[in-house]
């Protein structure tokens, strides 16, 4: 479904601050697979997701969705296929607009902006149904301003919004990292439900090794812009967090203390 071929991304190309963010990613994700992506800060996880989404254009290589080459397509042209949830709960929704207006925007994702009314009673019915799944009482707050909701509530709504339109790919960029453990668990629960329901192809970036192993069917680790290992199947089933940490330690060549990583990644 998603196919990256020798994908390179360089920031500030030709300048003294040049940074090689992705250095040759070859990755094929079949339809319906749920891949978790781990790696230290600056490894290129978010860059990879943003490049697949089209926010960042690649300097070399190709991206294909199925048979379709989307390498040159801007982000807005890929939204018919891709739904996203960001790490920052404020990033995925508009604080100045109401809950229903936000949802209406997602409902129109991938369609052209038209001069028909943005909201109608049919949509409101769908929105109410979807919001009631959260058990947060948001189905009665359709006309509340999004800015009045808590971070967890906003993230929950972003997640529902990502599933309002049929899409084939879901990109999750540490979407539970900014939430308290209880809300994070709720969000992860609904995420799994949505993925199973819609049979989505998923990439989830996470800093939590536990989450990376508990969810999905495949785990890749990025380091300095390259995929350093790719785990799936039975081998992955036998893995524990400490095994991941060991693998991670092996990959490190820059001599940083492992203890720091344990603090960062063991959680």
């Amino acid at each position: 479904m998603i196919c990256c071929k020798d994908l390179h991304v360089t920031f500030n190309r030709g300048l003294p601050t040049e940074k090689l963010a992705l250095r040759g990613i070859d990755l094929t994700i079949p339809m319906g697979e749920f891949v978790t992506v781990i790696g230290s800060n600056g490894a290129g996880k978010s860059t990879l997701l943003n490049t697949i989404a089209g926010d960042i254009s690649s300097t070399k290589g190709k991206i294909l969705f199925g048979e379709r080459d989307v390498t040159k397509l801007p982000a807005t042209g890929r939204t018919a296929d891709i739904a996203r949830v960001f790490q920052d709960p404020l990033a995925g929704t508009c604080g100045d607009l109401t809950v229903e207006e936000n949802m209406a925007l997602a409902y129109g994702r991938g369609k052209r902006g038209r001069l028909s009314s943005a909201l109608n009673s049919n949509m409101r019915k769908v929105f109410r149904e979807q919001l009631s799944r959260l058990n947060l009482g948001l189905e009665n707050r359709l006309d509340s301003e999004m800015g009045l909701l808590s971070g967890g509530q906003r993230q929950s709504v972003s997640l529902l919004m990502s599933a309002l339109q049929p899409s084939t790919i879901l990109l999750l960029d540490e979407h539970t990292a900014a939430l308290d453990p209880k809300t994070a668990a709720l969000i992860m629960d609904i995420t799994s439900q949505i993925i199973a329901e819609k049979q989505l192809t998923v990439m989830m970036v996470t800093h939590s090794m536990r989450q990376a192993l508990d969810h999905g069917s495949r785990t890749i680790m990025l380091h300095e812009g390259k995929i350093i290992f790719d785990l799936s199947g039975e081998k992955r089933a036998g893995y524990e967090v400490k095994d991941l940490l060991n693998l991670f330690a092996q990959a490190r060549t820059d001599g940083e203390e492992l203890d720091d990583d344990k603090l960062l990644l063991g959680a």
């Binding site: 939204t79 018919a80 960001f86 990033a91 508009c94 604080g95 925007l105 902006g113 028909s116 919004m161």
Partner: protein
Amino acid sequence: MSLFSFLGTLEIGLIYGLVAIGVYLTFRILDFPDLTVDGSFTLGAAVTATLIVMGVNVLVATLAGTLAAACAGLVTAWLNLRFDILHLLASILTMTALYTINLRVMGKPNVALIMEPTILTPFEGLFGLPDMYMRVIFVGICAVAGGLLVAWFLRTQYGLAMRAVGSNKRMAQANGIVVKQKVYAGLALSNGLVGLAGALFAQTNGFADSTMGIGTIVVGLAAVIIGQSLFASRSMYVIVLSCIVGSVLYRIAVSMALNADFLGFSASDLNLITAVLVALALIFPKLRKEWKAKQAARNEA
């Protein structure tokens, strides 16, 4: 205030209601502070007046003035979107350039329309109404119709997308909204409305002048702020129409200040009064917040 001057005040307030709606679109909806309007108000007036003097049909002339002003908005948007020039600076550049362009369009500092037909000519003497009343009714209908159209537009899918662009660009993009296109459209619409106001102003007042646009942005902003502080609502219709009400109230306040002899203001003090009014309106919400915080702290202690 005499009835005569009250009607005049009402008329100008209603015309500037269109300016206020334009300013609302850029400042509040798109979060794009756009000073182009100082130039595009005059451009709308200059193009319309010049064409009328040349003998062009008044409706065509008004439309041309409106479109010219919309193009000025596009230039500002282009400078900002294509070359990353800060929005405020981009609009100042366009505004500065427009000063010369307006003089070139008119060929002289001002054009008189006293003896020319205007968009109001067909309505003169209709139903035996005195011209003073007729003019107020005409510009009132224009302003309200413009307001209703804009409010309707903001409630469509396209309009909602434009509001999302002003609120959260990244989210808008992730939902397939072409951000730049919405900014172009918004600035064209905003400046078009302001240009239409300029065209109407020239025709109701009988002249276009190269300096008539100075301070348009501040007047528009004052109207938006007054309107929004009086009518707190989430309805687009209420918000947009409150811009017109704000504009009329602003004009009445200014005219009362100028007419009150004991205050000793003269017409040339207008800009200072306006600037102070707008500054106060902007400062007040912040001060109120600070007072409330202090009070809460005192209550806890």
